[in-house]
């Protein structure tokens, strides 16, 4: 009898509501569930491809004879060409840090602590992270657009037909260049940032060089520099790696190249912030 009551109940609903029910269910239940499923699936596929590229890169490292000669030009493009923008950012970061430290400390601590705050934060945080984020835009986007264009114009297919492995020929030189050059660019940027903070302290805060240096040396630990270097090596690997990955995944013409470039900047920036937190938790 129970089974008979269900159709009766259904029949008792107004006809319009009965028609709307599947549509509502489709819209509010099936739709979001299907979207979630699709998103999960595409994320897993993407992760699988990234993992495959990672392992292919590890294997490709052995072929030094092939990627070695391509390393120097890539180091120039990834590192040397990035110095001006990194220095520009560092100069203004140094000025702001110096002024904000003075503003924060005034009346509570001696002014030479400006040097302490500037030194510590520039070396372990602002130098690596700000430079890393800028390079994610500059280097990551360049790599992604370059490889993406090569992909959609079949240049990568052409490389393969000429018996070249794109991972050896394109990915490894860029990634190794990033690993080597990012720490150097960050060291230059950090030094310039501290320098600009120093000049600001002398010119605008009426501090002496002796005071600034006293503060700078107060809590300085050589480990801080190593911490920054380790961090930026990981930033170099992730920015160039993400750029290569999305570049090689590009499809659908110019629009695809644009999408790959955007994804690279977004994902690389997110990875930098996650890695920053990771290294702080692990190494400090």
């Amino acid at each position: 009898m129970a089974s008979a009551s269900a159709p009766e109940h259904a029949l008792s609903e107004p006809p319009k509501a009965r028609e709307q029910l599947p549509a509502v269910r489709r819209r509010f239940v099936h739709g979001p569930l299907a979207s979630c499923g699709r998103l999960t699936l595409s994320a897993l596929v993407l992760f699988g491809r990234a993992w495959r590229l990672f392992w292919a890169s590890i294997h490709a490292l052995r072929e030094v004879g092939l990627w070695g000669p391509l390393l120097l030009p890539q180091m120039a493009r990834v590192g040397v060409a990035s110095v001006p923008i990194a220095v520009f950012i560092a100069i203004f970061t140094g000025i702001v840090m110096s002024l904000q430290a003075s503003y924060t400390l005034s009346g509570t601590l001696p002014l030479y602590f400006v040097g302490t705050m500037v030194g510590k934060s520039m070396i372990i945080e602002l130098g690596p992270v700000l430079t890393g984020l800028v390079l994610a835009g500059r280097v990551g986007a360049t790599i992604s657009a370059e490889l993406g264009t090569m992909r959609v114009t079949e240049q990568i297919d052409a490389l393969e037909t000429l018996a070249y492995d794109p991972v050896v020929y394109l990915v490894i030189p860029r990634t190794v260049a990033g690993i080597v050059m990012f720490p150097l660019v960050v060291l230059i940027a950090t030094s310039v940032g501290i320098g600009s903070a120093w000049v600001t302290a002398l010119e605008l805060l009426n501090m002496s060089s002796a005071e600034f240096v006293k503060g700078l040396r107060l809590f300085f630990e050589p480990w801080d520099v190593w911490f920054a270097v380790i961090k930026t090596i990981s930033f170099g690997a992730i920015v160039t790696g993400v750029g290569c990955f999305f570049g090689l995944q590009t499809d659908r013409g110019a629009r695809g190249v644009g999408r790959a470039t955007t994804r690279t900047v977004v994902v690389a920036s997110m990875c930098i912030l996650v890695l920053d937190a990771f290294w702080a938790a692990v190494l400090l």
Binding site: T153, E154, Q155, D157, A158, L162, A163, Y164, D165
Partner: protein, 250 residues
């Protein structure tokens, strides 16, 4: 058989491009694959050179199953195959001469001077003598295609795969390219596979023509057999008659 495909299936998402395609190309023969745009001709070529793997079926080149080859063996096979891309696919950051010599750089016994000499030889062969110092962006469409052909023949391959070698070219350049394709076979004994929808070109160069339709080989035979084939769809394609091709005539 030099190139052998057996019941090859390939789908991209829900769209099946090759639906059990079988094809044989004999040693020293030029086979033309004709068919409408988007019927899977380029996909077929990419399977032969291992750029794509079939979902099912066999792809055998020179007695070796391409999908089963490891990285080194595939690279070795690819050195025996020249591939002429539809839009040339020249490396735009390199000069034309560097493009042509690119495949030779990794071969033993090829130093810079020998590569430069060979690049110049190949460029002469495709009527691009003296253009080695230019960049791809400085070439016309026809010149780019010829440079792509020069790059494909530089390493003296045993097989040449041509993806729409004459599309978008003027009749004179088309004729030059066609003569080059035939010359590669006559002088160097190269086995050729030409993918095209230019029927004049196909009749001019091919020993055998295969008509690809809906992912399968609908016709395969000598050019003279194709001319008299009774199949309306084939006739419609060859004569450029939509009524016959789509079966809407009458």
């Amino acid at each position: 058989m030099s190139i052998h495909l057996d019941r090859v299936h390939k789908a991209f998402g829900p769209r099946e491009v090759l639906c059990g395609l079988s094809l044989d190309v004999a040693e020293g023969e030029i086979a033309a694959i004709v068919g409408p745009s988007g019927c899977g001709k380029s996909v077929l070529l990419k399977h032969i050179v291992g750029l794509l793997a079939p979902d099912s079926g066999a792809v055998v080149v020179a007695g070796r199953s391409v999908p089963e080859l490891d990285r080194e063996s595939l690279a070795e096979l690819r050195r025996r195959i020249g591939y002429v891309f539809q839009f040339a696919a020249l490396f735009d950051s390199m000069t034309v001469a560097a493009n042509v010599g690119m495949g030779l750089r990794r071969l033993p016994g090829w130093d810079g001077r020998r590569i430069a000499r060979r690049a110049e030889e190949c460029l002469e062969l495709v009527d691009l003598a003296g253009m080695g110092d230019r960049y791809p962006a400085q070439l016309s469409g026809g010149q780019r295609k010829r440079a792509g052909l020069a790059r494909a023949i530089a390493a003296s391959p045993e097989y040449l795969l041509y993806d729409e070698p004459t599309t978008g070219l003027d009749p004179v350049t088309t004729s030059v390219i066609d003569k080059l394709v035939v010359r590669m076979r006559d002088e160097l004994g190269v086995t050729g596979l030409v993918v095209t929808h230019d029927m004049t070109s196909a009749f001019r160069v091919a020993d055998r023509i295969t008509f690809l339709h809906e992912g399968r080989a609908r016709f395969s035979g000598a050019p003279d057999e194709l001319r008299v084939a009774p199949d309306a769809v084939l006739k419609g394609f060859v004569e450029g008659d939509p009524g016959l091709y789509y079966g809407t005539e009458g």
